[in-house]
């Protein structure tokens, strides 16, 4: 009963926010962010704990796997572009990953945050299923990692497009790549809405960033 209710509110809140975002587009109406806030509020008001929400979560995320695999379609459609911009993509992706991880670690040290937090920060830009896998390997706090990854994705989805425009980054390939590299799947969902090229590149960048990060991390951890 609670499961059915949980699914019902999740789906209706999502549809409502989607409708809202179509008419009033702003960082606040970013679907994942606003839906999450409304759903958490509703759950708290109805006195449903996250443990009770869990079965509903399992059912609803069942399609996340096939949905991720489906990213191959826009990548395939835009394959000529990937060949054409191969060197740019590789250099851009690496500089994005390295700068975001190092700046996060330095800042966390500056603010005197604990080592558990610093360790979790290294995977904050990696897509959720991969981040938890790496987390297991580096012996990190898994729920903290999931939280950092999700919030990073939301930040990218909410402000990414605006920030890129502000710095005159207009090339659709560069925009998609930046969002996918930093804000993984949640950002990619937003990039898909901006355009097919952006969505395809973001999806590919998310995958490649995940692979690159898992290779780089052992070296970075030496310095923490």
């Amino acid at each position: 009963m609670i499961t059915l209710y949980s699914i019902l509110i999740t789906v209706s809140v999502y549809l409502f926010v989607r409708f809202l975002a179509k008419n009033y587009s702003s960082p606040v109406t970013s679907p994942v962010f606003l839906s999450t806030i409304i759903i958490i509020t509703l759950l708290v008001v109805s006195k449903i704990s996250f443990d009770e929400y869990m079965p509903a979560k399992t059912i609803m995320t069942y399609l996340l796997g096939p949905a991720t695999v489906a990213l191959a379609v826009p990548i395939y459609k835009n394959r000529d572009m990937f060949v054409k911009y191969f060197s740019a993509a590789f250099i851009g992706l690496s500089s994005g990953i390295v700068t975001t991880i190092t700046s996060a670690i330095l800042l966390a040290k500056l603010l005197k945050l604990s080592n558990v937090f610093v360790l979790a920060l290294t995977v904050k830009s990696v897509t959720v299923p991969v981040a938890t896998e790496i987390g297991r390997i580096i012996d990190g706090n898994l729920s903290l990692i999931a939280a950092l990854v999700i919030i990073t994705g939301m930040i990218g989805a909410m402000f990414g497009a605006k920030l890129l425009s502000l710095f005159k980054i207009h090339h659709p390939f560069a925009r998609g790549l930046a969002i996918g590299t930093i804000a993984h799947g949640i950002g990619t969902a937003e990039a898909v809405k901006e355009g097919e090229v952006q969505g395809a590149v973001a999806g590919a960048a998310m995958g490649i960033a995940a692979v690159l990060t898992s290779i780089i991390i052992p070296f970075i951890i030496e310095f923490i």
Binding site: P66, S125, H171
Partner: protein, 131 residues
């Protein structure tokens, strides 16, 4: 109507099978790469080799990608379990995450765009010389 529901279900099932094959491959070969990433590569190769045609999966994949954001919402609801940490340490957390995300976005985007522009300019120059 019935026909497209049927078509949609078959396509969805097919994507699901590819995802599972990706998972098995990762586990079987003890790869550090996650199953869903392998699934993307696998589907890409199948499309590329012409084993499957775009039309044969476009209905389901289009629908899934349109609602990609939805699947992250139930996961994000998990943030509610971290309520206390956020009240006590929320601000430094957010500062680190926002600043580092912005730095990464800027560098990834700017570097990519600059290299693309540079390459295209060189090509143009090369053509000028050729003429």
């Amino acid at each position: 109507m019935m026909k497209s529901v049927w078509k949609f279900s078959i396509q969805m099932f097919f994507l699901f099978v590819i995802y599972q094959v990706g998972n098995w491959t990762a586990r079987f070969f003890h790869l550090q790469i996650p199953g869903n990433v392998i699934g993307i590569v696998l589907l890409f190769v199948l499309l590329w080799l012409g084993v499957i045609k775009l039309e044969q999966i476009e209905l389901a994949s289009g629908w899934l990608l349109k609602h990609l954001g939805f699947f992250f919402i139930p996961i994000s609801v998990g943030l509610m379990t971290l309520g206390e940490i956020f009240v006590s340490k929320g601000l430094p957390f957010l500062i680190v995450l926002i600043v580092s995300a912005f730095i990464g976005l800027f560098f990834a985007g700017k570097v990519t765009q600059t290299v693309i522009m540079k390459n295209e300019k060189e090509k143009v120059n090369y053509h000028d010389h050729a003429i």
